[in-house]
Each structure stands twice: as C-alpha cells, then as structure tokens.
C-alpha cells in the first residue's frame, strides 16, 4: 500500500500568527520588542479569558479577539470604564417612578 501520510487538514493558527492578524486588523504596532512581548502575553491571557467566558455563557454569545484584546483588565477599565461609578455609586431612593401616563 501507499506510504503517503494522511492529510491532517488545515493546521490551527499559532498564537503569534493570531496576534499578527490582530495587529493588522486593528492597526496596532509596538516599536519596542519588550512591549511587543508584553502585549502578546496580555493577548494570550485575554484569549484564555474569552474561552472561559465562552464556556460559562448560557446564551448565544461569542467571545474572542476584539479591538481590546491587547489591553489588561485594568487598562480597559481605566480607558473605557466610568471611573466615577467604579469608585461607587451613591446610594439613593427611587423617588420618581413611572406610573403610566398622566402621573403628576
């Protein structure tokens, strides 16, 4: 018979390849090699986090590579979060409630 190896099919992308695609897709460049290495680490961590969320999701959501995949959770919170609400929202009573049309 033939000694030809079975075709294993398309191989999965390596992390570095996915990261290169991410940089191209979202126009990211890191000039210093140490910064590139650090962002790659963060990217890998975020992909693992996305996989965890995918497993925990009970709906139809998809988690994965996003424009924020090279940011730490802290950086993301700092850049895109509401720093005031993150420090705590003041307690309040619901004084005004919708009661339907014609309310005072």
């Amino acid at each position: 018979g033939s000694l030809r190896a079975q075709d294993p099919g398309p191989r999965p992308l390596e992390l570095k390849e996915v990261f290169a695609w991410f940089q191209m897709q979202f126009n990211r460049s890191y000039l210093i090699p140490a910064e590139h290495a650090r962002r790659l680490d963060i990217f890998a961590h975020n992909l693992a986090q996305a996989q965890r969320l995918q497993e925990e999701d009970l709906g139809t959501a998809e988690f994965g590579v996003t424009p924020f995949s090279d940011l730490t959770e802290e950086e993301f919170a700092q850049l895109y979060g509401n720093r005031k609400t993150a420090r705590g929202v003041p307690s309040m009573n619901r004084m005004a409630e919708y009661e339907g049309l014609g309310e005072s």
Partner: protein
C-alpha cells in the same frame, strides 16, 4: 408591551454609533443618545453636543467619568444643548471651556426619571416612549464579539455597574439562530427562544454587532435594571408612540 421592539428601524431615531476613544464619557454619550431619540420621536431629529455635557459638567472633568443624572442636570441648568455640529466632540476636556452660552440650543428636556427595577416595566416604557439609558457591569464586553450574553451573577456581578449605554430595543432569539445546522439537529430537546435586550455602545462600529450588543432579558444580566434613567421631553399627557416590531 409588544413582543419585539427595535427603535433602530425607525428612521432618524438612533444616531450613528459614536466612539468615546480615550475619554470616559459613556455617561454623556448615553444621555445624549436618549435625548436625541426622544426629540426625534416627539418632534424632529437632532444631534446634540456631547462635548457640551463634558465641558459644562458640574462635577469637573467629564472625561474622568460621570453619572447619567449629572448629564441631565447639566442640560436642565443650561436650558438645553447645542448641536453636535456647532459644538463638536473633541474627546478631551480643557478647564473653564464651557461654551454653553455661545451656541443656539437645539434640544431641551422637561425633567428626568428613574424607572423601576423591573424588566417588564422597562420594556413597556421603552416600547411606548423611546430608548432609555442603563448602567451595567461591562466586565464581559472586553471579549464580546456577538450574540446574546446570558450569564450567572457570579460571572457578571449585577451590583457593580460601571458603564452607561442606550437601551434601544428588545426581542427573542429564534431557537437555533446563529448555530450550525448539525448542532441544532443533534439537540435532543428543542431549545427555548432567548429573550434579549438590544443596547447601543459607544466604542465605535467595529466593536460587537456593528457597535451594538445584546444581553439576556429577564435575569437582570450584568445589573441592567439598577439605574434605568430617561429624560422627558414632552408634557406627561402626550400621546403614546409605538416602536417598530
């Protein structure tokens, strides 16, 4: 309350997706979106100045975060808002730069209210009045791509809310929607449809579902019921409006 509601389907009610960039102004963009939608439904389409909300915010630098009610109080204190065209978004705040008096007001509000922590009531109000603002826990959104997020409170704490967005509609996912055909066929029990909220984010149109995302409806996902706020732009006895299904 209708089964589905999507204010994006009504022309000119929902303005284009914005990008807050490095300015923590989700609160101002969500409040502006609420006012724009209500004005479009009740009167005429307008695009209001987010920058005015940031510059004239009574609590200082608007790019450091803020609360939805501060945005509405700023609108009330300044007797309205200028247009985005006259007073465009800069993504940064310089001290003492409030130019509220310089430009003509294109929209104003009567007051603002907080709705009950009840998703059914929120849906009813949304369908009969227009989009409202909500503040949620944004933890899952960093890795979100598409679909309906449904998680337990352990994964997304509903008590910790840190991101304001505009709630623009609700609906139900048909069973099997978005799944490969073989996955649907292999399921022994038919999956129940998944009720969801449609939310407009302010991170650009390249994020999520063209700038939008969906959260499960009925389980207070990520604290969506904690602060449902809306401005009011018409006297209370005005006629009802209806949201396109």
């Amino acid at each position: 309350t209708p089964h589905t509601c999507d204010w994006r389907k009504k022309t000119d009610v929902i303005s284009p997706i914005k990008n807050q960039k490095n300015c923590a102004c989700c609160w101002a963009i969500a409040a502006a979106g609420n006012i724009e939608a209500l004005w479009s439904i009740r009167s005429k389409p307008v695009e209001v100045s987010v920058q005015e909300l940031l510059d004239c915010n009574r609590c200082g630098d608007g790019c450091q975060g803020g609360f939805i009610w501060d945005a509405f109080i700023t609108v009330l204190n300044n007797s309205g808002l200028a247009s985005e065209r006259d007073y465009p978004f800069q993504g940064k705040v310089e001290p003492h730069r409030c130019l509220a008096k310089k430009y003509k007001k294109v929209a104003w509000i009567q007051d603002f209210i907080m709705l009950q922590e009840d998703e059914q009531r929120i849906a009813q109000y949304l369908a009969t009045h227009g989009p409202i603002t909500v503040t949620i826990n944004k933890k899952l959104l960093q890795q979100y791509k598409k679909g309906v997020i449904k998680v337990t409170p352990d994964t997304c704490d509903p008590r910790f809310v840190d991101h304001s967005v505009l709630l623009v509609g609700f609906g139900r996912d048909k069973p099997g929607e978005g799944m490969p055909a073989e996955t649907v066929a292999s399921q022994s029990r038919p999956r129940r449809s998944l009720p969801y909220w449609i939310l407009k984010n302010s991170w650009g149109s390249h994020w999520g579902e063209e700038g939008y995302f969906r959260l499960h409806r009925g389980s207070n996902t990520c604290g969506i019921t904690k602060y449902p706020l809306t401005a009011r732009v018409v006297p209370p006895k005005a006629s009802l409006v209806s949201c396109p299904p």
